[in-house]
Amino acid sequence: AQKVTQAQTEISVVEKEDVTLDCVYETRDTTYYLFWYKQPPSGELVFLIRRNSFDEQNEISGRYSWNFQKSTSSFNFTITASQVVDSAVYFCALSEAEDNYGQNFVFGPGTRLSVLP
């Protein structure tokens, strides 16, 4: 069965620091998708990025970047020059493409990021 691990339960940084959120996954499928979601204090999870298992290119979107490495089964998320508005819980998730109806869309336990002014 697949599994997603986010070893960092909570991280605190001071504004403008860079911060990396770790995500390690386990799957036996060769085709799968990885996701990152942000949950601000308002509660609604917001989709940030999707990566399929055949695309190992790193991606950058503004201050956000993602490092996908199949060799270490990791999909880490870096925020550059963090801001107070980045404070949230961040979830990494995995979906296996061959799965039945997304039953095994698995989330990690989340990392709570606090950015202090």
């Binding site: 998708y33 509660g43 979906s95 109806y101 997304g102 989330f107």
Partner: protein, 113 residues
């Protein structure tokens, strides 16, 4: 703008009461989900539905049931609420349950006394 709306943001119920949590999406998605979120456990799937009147159990269906009478609406029912069902409940929908992103509602925080 796409939208998933959950009927109640905060509820307080007593042990043994019947609880209805409603979720409506306006994206014409076939697939809808109910998750439970608890600290340190992430999101755990309770039930999902891939079509009207169709439902499948997730990882933790015990104590819950669901109803999907219309495509846009997916309801979670707690027949007899218990204190261990105190939690945040999140509804989501998606076009493709394996490859597509999930769109979430704002969550319903339920407290059972």
């Amino acid at each position: 703008d796409v939208k998933v709306t959950q009927s109640s943001r905060y509820l307080v119920k007593r042990t043994g009461e019947k609880v209805f949590l409603e979720c409506v999406q306006d994206m014409d998605h076939e697939n809808m989900f109910w998750y439970r979120q608890d600290p340190g456990l992430g999101l755990r799937l309770i039930y999902f539905s891939y079509d009207v009147k169709m439902k499948e159990k997730g990882d933790i269906p015990e104590g819950y049931s669901v109803s999907r009478e219309k495509k846009e609406r997916f309801s979670l029912i707690l027949e007899s609420a218990s204190t261990n069902q105190t939690s945040m409940y999140l509804c989501a929908s998606t076009l493709n349950p394996n490859t597509g992103e999930l769109f979430f509602g704002e969550g319903s925080r339920l407290t059972v006394l």
